[in-house]
């Protein structure tokens, strides 16, 4: 839900750079440095504690904050690469004016939005991020959760090496339940292409919408025939052509798991690789545009993907 305007004003007056937030229960002190962003239920600040930079999310909405904290705690127990930022502290703060806030402190993820990364570095990075995201989704689903509100705004690309990470677990829902929070453009229910039950295929639909959103930053309406609109729009994006078959299947809910989708994407990379090898052997023929595009994708995708597995 959109933040209440009056509350937002009050909030901005009470929390500014330099404000010290002292936890009511655990007594830790955090110095606010700057605002990182504002979401549906609260604001996120960069803060400093013991000389280290952390992200602090604060809100007066106890309920939603508590739900998010519960999710972050569960995700913290999943093995392997972190799913979502790690949680460091949860506490309350009573402002000098007497307003009661709840806040939690998490790892500060320094990165840039997915779309600006792609714009700067080119679409050959698409494959890497697809594989990384599918990997994370696979582990998330295996631990009994669905991300739910998967969208471009909830992803950051960390640098050196580029690794896509998700923030904001507000929509993360246990498998089999009703999706907690969603954004229309990414929601298959809105597109009349499935239910709002938390299942792996719900995330895979949103996954495709993330990549569409990169090429349609203003998004688009569903029109009278939502599925037709969607497939047409997908078809029109040239950089996504190489992956169109699995992307289309994901939109139509044909994958029961991210592993299944990942397997088919990998196959596309390997086949492209094989074809280019063949061509190399037959010596320099002029290469059709499509193949040059795919070579780039293959080398970078496989390379970086494997590299990110080692981290």
């Amino acid at each position: 839900m959109r933040m209440n305007e009056a509350w937002k004003k009050k909030h901005n007056a009470e929390i500014r750079p330099g404000t010290t937030i002292t936890g009511k229960w655990h007594g830790k002190r955090y110095v606010i440095k700057k605002k990182l962003g504002e979401g549906a239920i609260g604001s996120v600040y960069l803060c400093e504690v013991n000389g280290r930079e952390k992200a602090l999310k604060i809100s007066d909405n106890r309920t939603s904050m508590t739900v998010e904290v519960n999710v972050l705690k569960s995700l913290g127990k999943v093995q392997g690469n972190r799913l979502g930022p790690s949680l460091l502290d949860v506490d309350d703060w009573i402002s000098p004016f007497g307003t009661a806030y709840t806040f939690y402190v998490m790892e500060y993820l320094k990165g840039e939005p997915l779309s600006s990364f792609i714009q700067r570095n080119g679409s050959e990075w698409l494959g890497v991020f697809m594989l990384q995201l599918l990997d994370d989704l696979e582990r998330l689903h295996a631990s009994g959760w669905v991300f739910g509100d998967l969208k471009t705004e909830n992803l950051l690309v960390l640098h050196a090496p580029p690794r896509v990470r998700w923030i904001d677990v507000g929509g993360t829902t246990q498998i089999g339940r009703a999706i907690k929070e969603y954004t229309e453009f990414y929601d298959r229910g809105y597109w009349k292409m499935g239910s709002r039950k938390a299942e792996p295929s719900y995330d895979l639909f949103a996954f495709v919408m993330i990549f569409l959103n990169i090429y349609y930053p203003k998004r688009f309406d569903k029109g009278l025939e939502p599925e037709k609109t969607l497939l047409k729009r997908l078809h029109d994006v040239k950089p996504l052509r190489p992956y169109i078959v699995p992307l289309k299947k994901a939109l139509q809910g044909k994958y029961a798991s991210s592993a299944e989708m990942k397997k088919e994407l990998m196959l596309i990379f390997y086949q492209a690789q094989k074809r280019t090898n063949l061509r190399k052997n037959r010596r320099k023929e002029s290469m059709p545009h499509f193949f040059t595009e795919v070579i780039g994708i293959t080398v970078i995708a496989i390379g970086y993907y494997l590299f990110s597995l080692l981290l």
């Binding site: 106890r62 904290v69 705690k73």
Partner: protein, 245 residues
Amino acid sequence: MKKGTLKQILLITDGCSNKGEDPSATAGLAYEQGITVNVIGILEDDASQQPDGLQEVEDIALSGGGVSQLVYKKALSQTVQMVTKQAMTQTLQGFVNKELKQILGPEKSLEEMEPEKRGEIMEVVEDMGETCDLEVLVLIDTSASMTDKLPTVKEALIDLSISLNARIGRNRFSIFRFPGKQQDMEKVFDWSPRLDDISTIFPGLTSGGITPTGPAIREAIYQFGRKSLMRSLRHENERGMEEEA
């Protein structure tokens, strides 16, 4: 904890009531009887300032123990489902808080609890919200000014049913409009688990200029009462038959 049924009235309007008793008073009456009243006020797309008439929206929800939200037509779908879910959580939290006070003493509530405990309690509230049964009586203002908004209301209600039917718990919806042709309120869609097929009832729903919000809420309370009365009668009958058999 016993699995219960939450009862909600969802009032969708674009203006102020102008006939009959104060709707806030009747909403309070509903709340007394365990029915939450949520209100959605639809704003004109070009309205820059908040119309005075819509203060009533907040007042009704406040005394009805529910949630209110002013919204432009475009965002109606997402708002309707969020208001409904938020109100469910609010009601369930109220129950849990009451139980907690009984166990832990009057000064203990969710707010005064340390974050770890609060987390555990929220898990219980979430579980209840997912599994409880829900009855929503939708009350649509069909006065003349609503005409151009009704197609969006229809979409939003179908969308609401998609959201709620993803839950584990069962749902029942019914739709009433006010004013009706003869009375203050009139049934347009009988209790049903889904709202997928409401398209046919929507054309030609608009009517005259009066907005009897208060009387309509009172009538809605009666409809809820009637429903549970019928159910308990049916229950009695079934039991009677079992005994005979």
